[in-house]
């Protein structure tokens, strides 16, 4: 029994029965298949998170996000005073996480590609784009650059899904995706 020493003292030489051999081989091959799928997706898949990241001080990130928002601001989000920013296709765009908002609101064009710079200026935050369900951890001191192509029209919510203190559940933001301007 499993609670007593093995019946056969030389247990490491006992033969392995077919049912265990087959199952182990099957499980091993399945593991290889899953392992390969991740690698294959890097070649054929369109959703692979960027490895591009930089160390950055919060002050520098704030300055860049401010300059970005000032340059491309088109209006303010209703009742909030938060700028809605519409950058040209292909631009470097900034989204800043802080206690407790995602800033600014972005207006992007469907089917165009942008370089999204994500960082936090205080604690860790969780970028969660809904209902698309893209979830990315956002660290202070690190700038994550993600090349992203919105392919759906509409209004998308951003919530915070990393606990960031008592106002965590008030931390939201927004992305509008609109028809592209003819180029």
């Amino acid at each position: 029994m499993a609670v007593t020493p093995p019946v056969q003292r030389i247990w490491w030489k006992e033969p392995i029965e077919r049912v265990e051999l087959v199952w182990t081989a099957l499980a091993f091959l399945w593991g290889l298949a899953m392992f390969s799928t991740m690698i294959v997706w890097h070649v054929v898949g369109k959703q692979n998170l960027a490895n591009e990241a930089y160390r950055i001080s919060p002050q520098t990130f704030i300055a860049r996000a401010d300059a970005f928002a000032e340059k491309y601001k088109v209006r303010e989000e209703a009742n909030t005073g938060v700028p809605v920013v519409r950058p040209p296709a292909g631009a470097d765009i900034y989204l800043l996480g802080r206690l407790w908002e995602w800033w600014p609101v972005l207006e992007l064009e469907k089917g165009r590609t942008y370089r999204l710079h994500l960082s936090s200026i205080d604690w860790q935050h969780g970028f969660s784009l809904l209902p698309v369900n893209i979830n990315i951890q956002v660290h202070p001191g690190y700038e994550h650059v993600i090349t992203i192509t919105p392919d759906q029209l509409g209004q998308f919510g951003i919530v915070c899904n990393e606990y960031c203190g008592i106002g965590h559940h008030q931390m939201t933001g927004k992305i509008y995706v609109v028809e592209p301007k003819p180029q």
Partner: protein, 577 residues
């Protein structure tokens, strides 16, 4: 020095232990070990009661229609829930299992019971200190305590003291193995259950070392000696503790599955070699899982993520899948020897479902595999993680592993520990009979509905998904609210099971009838024919296990379908690189 001198020295250093003989197993039980097992198990149950209550409050607050606690209390209680059940309940119980698997199963005296009490004291003081810090309200940092968010210094100090105590206890376990080998208290190799416990203990050393490497500097940071803790570095090392401690749980509860199968139906491992190799895979590969928490972080390469998140090509998953065959397989083989040979499933239908130890073990086995296991692999796939990271899917997954898997297995084991170690009959046997079903179904519901809510984007650790206080609104799908309500209902069911468990344990320990060796209410193994009639595995040309083959076949198909369905979901997400 001659060998005689050494032997004499050892005899002098050796403690004069007092033993009793177990009337069921014939094993010698060191009374000092027994007292330590009792103390650690009792402490475990107390912290389970505290942490379980916190968990119920969390679930009732996340039930939108109830929304019980104010925000500040919710986050505080959630922090306490994690620490009490994930750390204190589980590790106290594991220390009890380690002492049991070494001193008791090996027929040996326990090494240095005095240090065992010191370890116990450190763990109790540490756990109490962390609880005080949390309840004082200035350490609401969640179980993970990610910097730059800072807790009170005694929060970290409490965790450090607890870890030091646990490490000491693990050392006593190893020392007991040495004593047992030295004093030849058993023949041949250690039992499989002890082998599993050794696996858990080795992983525990790695886990606690990781904890020390990160918590000591973080403590120094909290009192102002260290200037800065890098948040990304913290996560890499902290999860070396946080995830690896879950691998201690897996090794321990798998060892307990084997133990319970042996003691209830007289199961014999199909193959010692295969089962031990599966445990060995845990030792070699499970620690890589820190990566599961870093798949959507900046600054970590895809190569590192792919290798580590898959435990080097899923070799630890392979270990679990092997146990997934050999545990039910050994039960089927034993039950067939017990005479239940009709069709593919008579062995399972006529299993001792009325024995809470067996019922809890089998439910734990099935739910750990189907719910916790499959969801864990999917969640830990490099690219798919972006769909679920930090959503409620994550707690859904680990309630499948730690609650439906580990906690249920520990509860099941308790029904054997009560008569065997506490020497008490299980009180309220009729309540005890339904307990694993109530708790198991509750835990399964919690896990599944949280996973469902997570796929709809509901964030974890979040007080209010109506987002009433947010300046920019967002409306979650109606299904998300339904899921959270169902989660609340099943949490009540699980809490009911938890309360019954605690009532049964407390009543048995304090007022339970002493076991009468001549007329015990329970038999070990429950079906004794198998133990007497052990066929040496390997002597048959084939062992037919049709029921188990069907079970693992269903598992395999479910696994493949769910895995690739999630790739399909991923392909619909905005392209990003």
């Amino acid at each position: 020095m001659t060998s005689i001198d050494i032997a004499a020295g050892r005899a002098q250093a050796g403690r004069e232990a007092k033993f009793r003989t177990c009337p069921f197993t014939g094993l010698k039980v060191d009374l000092a070990a027994q007292r330590l097992i009792v103390a650690n198990a009792v402490a475990a149950v107390i912290f389970l009661a505290v942490g379980g209550l916190f968990g119920l409050l969390v679930a009732l607050t996340r039930w939108p229609a109830v929304h019980l606690l104010p925000a500040e209390w919710f986050y505080l209680v959630l922090t306490g829930h994690g620490a009490n059940v994930l750390l204190f309940w589980i590790i106290f119980f594991e220390i009890a299992v380690l002492y049991f698997a070494s001193a008791i199963l090996l027929n040996s005296r326990l090494a240095t019971p005095r240090l065992g009490w010191l370890a116990f004291g450190l763990m109790v003081v540490g756990a109490a200190m962390a609880n005080v810090a949390v309840l004082q309200g200035d350490s609401t940092v969640m179980f993970t305590s990610y910097p730059p968010m800072k807790a009170a210094p005694h929060f970290y100090l409490g965790l450090i003291l607890f870890a030091v105590g646990a490490l000491l206890a693990v050392g006593i376990f190893f020392a007991t193995l040495v004593i047992a080998k030295d004093e030849r208290t058993y023949e041949g190799s250690v039992p499989l259950v002890t082998f599993g416990a050794i696996t858990a203990a080795i992983i525990a050393v790695y886990t606690i070392a990781s904890g020390a490497v990160i918590l000591i500097p973080t403590f120094l940071w909290s009192i102002g000696i260290v200037g800065n803790i890098d948040p990304l570095m913290y996560k890499v090392v902290w999860w070396g503790m946080g995830h690896s401690s879950q691998q201690i749980n897996v090794s321990t509860h798998v060892a307990l599955w084997y133990a319970i199968a042996a003691l209830t139906v007289g199961a014999v491992p199909l193959s010692e070699k295969v089962s031990r190799t599966a445990f060995l895979l845990y030792i070699l590969f499970l620690q890589l899982a820190s990566a599961h928490h870093l798949l959507v972080e900046p600054g970590i390469s895809s190569e590192w993520k792919v290798f580590n998140t898959s435990y080097a090509m899923y070799l630890a998953v392979l270990g679990s899948m092997i146990h997934g065959l050999t545990v039910p397989g050994s039960i089927e083989a034993a039950q067939r020897r017990n005479g239940f040979t009709k069709g593919a499933f008579e062995w399972l239908r006529k299993a001792p479902w009325g024995n809470p130890a067996f019922a809890g073990m089998f439910l734990s086995l099935v739910m750990f595999g189907f719910i916790g296991g499959i969801s864990g692999v999917v969640l830990g796939t490099e690219q798919i993680n972006i769909l679920m990271h930090n959503t409620l899917y994550v707690p859904g997954h680990f309630h499948g592993t730690v609650v439906a898997g580990t906690t249920l297995a520990f509860m099941a084991a308790t029904y054997l520990i009560l008569p065997l170690v506490f020497q008490r009959e299980v009180a309220f046997p009729k309540l005890a009979k339904v307990q694993p079903y109530l708790f198991g179904i509750g835990a399964a519901g919690i896990a599944l509905f949280m996973m469902g809510a997570g796929t709809l984007g509901v964030p974890r650790r979040h007080w209010d998904i109506t987002l009433t206080d947010a300046s920019i609104p967002y409306e979650f799908a109606a299904g998300a609210f339904l899921m959270m309500g169902l989660n609340g209902l099943f949490a009540i069911l699980a809490a009911l099971g938890g309360i019954i468990y605690i009532v049964v344990v407390v009543a048995s320990v304090l007022w339970g009838k002493r076991v009468d060796p001549a007329r015990p209410a329970w038999q070990f193994p429950v079906t004794s024919a198998a133990a007497a009639n052990v066929a040496k595995y390997g002597s048959h040309a084939t062992v037919k296990l049709p029921g188990t083959i069907i079970l693992v076949g269903v598992f395999f198909v479910a696994f493949m379908l769910y895995y690739y369905v999630n790739w399909k979901y991923l392909s619909a997400v905005w392209p990003l690189r």
